[in-house]
């Protein structure tokens, strides 16, 4: 079966199932429905999955996440060295994708927390919400409004503008 999700990142609240104290002779419809669901849906699906897994286990294959070496940045390239520009640009694009995925992970955590807590999410998920706000603010300040033709040079110029604004504000 596929791996379960990371329990540390999406913690479940403690279970609050009450002790079953049956005082009537009538059957419990919830129990009956859960049994029906188990025998009609869960069991066939699990047996099919186990059968397919036993066939697949003969041809097991693995895949890896690629690790890229760090190359000199755009600021460390000589002027006119277009090969260096190209490598820096590719590295910047990979970093952009990584940052997008980071924002997606943080967003997913906040949404999971919201779903778990229900109506009281503002109070109980304050940490996740604050983390999400901070991460999106930083992402927008670095990559926001660069547009579809974003490149490392444009991002560098945006950083320069940010630094100028900070200097003008502090001075």
């Amino acid at each position: 079966m596929p791996n379960d999700y990371d329990k540390g990142a999406y913690p479940e609240p403690p279970r609050q199932t009450p002790v079953i104290d049956k005082q009537t002779a009538l059957p419990n419809p919830a129990l009956i429905l859960s049994q029906v669901f188990y025998y009609t849906v869960d069991l066939p699906v699990t047996t099919f999955r186990d059968a397919v897994d036993s066939i697949r286990s003969k041809n097991k294959q693995v895949y890896y996440h690629q690790k890229f070496r760090r190359v000199p940045d755009l600021t460390e390239c000589q002027e006119g060295d277009y090969v260096c520009y190209y490598e820096a640009e590719m590295q910047w694009r990979r970093d952009y994708k990584v940052d997008q995925e980071i924002v997606k992970v943080i967003q997913e955590r906040m949404r999971a927390c919201h779903q778990r807590e229900g109506a009281s999410y503002e109070q109980n998920c304050a940490k996740e919400i604050q983390q999400f706000n901070e991460v999106t603010k930083n992402f927008m300040s670095r990559y926001g409004d660069l547009g579809a033709y974003a490149s490392g040079r444009k991002c560098l110029m945006k950083q320069k503008e940010r630094m100028l604004a900070a200097q003008a504000q502090s001075a």
Binding site: V52, I55, R56, Q61, V62, Y63, Y64, V83, Y86
Partner: protein, 185 residues
């Protein structure tokens, strides 16, 4: 026989002349087999359809049949192939890169068909990267050469001591500067 038919037609004629009421038995006895066509109730709409008139749908049905045929001609083998690959080979699992091992470029993909395409049909991304860098380097060298050529042109035109921008003139040793007989020669 002929007499019977004469009698029957005479009785029918008599019955048609007199308008028989529904209860009169004499007229009914004689005219039972002859229906009166001007007073029969005619009902359209909920009877069984005996002849439906509509335009031909032969061409439409032929088109749809041919569409089904040509789509399924390659659709079914492709569906069988993909189902077989998913059931018998299955997707790869994520693992850490072992120490000192450099994975091949197709081992970075999950689905077996993607891995096959990356292994047999595509170049490795490292090769693509190097190809792009080679193209960039060639273009850079071309641009540099064009710039130096322009600079050389400018310098040679300005200084005039290079092999370019030489205007051929007559050989000065052919000029005869000895004094002549007449002043205009």
């Amino acid at each position: 026989m002929v007499g019977m038919s004469l009698l029957k037609s005479a009785a029918a004629f008599a019955a048609r002349l007199s308008l028989p009421k529904s209860g009169s038995t004499a007229a009914n006895l004689l005219t039972r087999t002859i229906p009166r066509t001007d007073k029969v109730a005619v009902r359209w709409g909920h009877g069984k359809k005996m002849f439906v008139i509509k335009p031909s749908d032969y061409y439409d049905r032929r088109f749809l049949r041919l569409v089904q045929y040509y789509v399924l001609l390659t659709g079914i083998p492709v569906a069988i192939l993909i189902t077989g690959v998913n059931i018998f080979i299955g997707e790869a699992e994520l693992a850490e890169i072992p120490e000192g091992y450099e994975p091949e470029h197709w081992e970075y993909y999950k689905h077996p068909i993607t891995r096959w395409i990356a292994r047999n049909l595509y170049d490795s991304p490292v090769k693509d990267y190097e190809k792009m860098m080679a193209a960039v380097q060639i273009e850079k060298e071309k641009a540099d050469m064009r710039i130096t050529q322009l600079e050389a042109r400018r310098e040679m035109r300005h200084a005039g001591d290079g092999p370019w921008f030489q205007i051929p003139t007559l050989n000065k040793e052919l000029i005869d500067s000895s004094p002549k007989a007449k002043p205009d020669h």
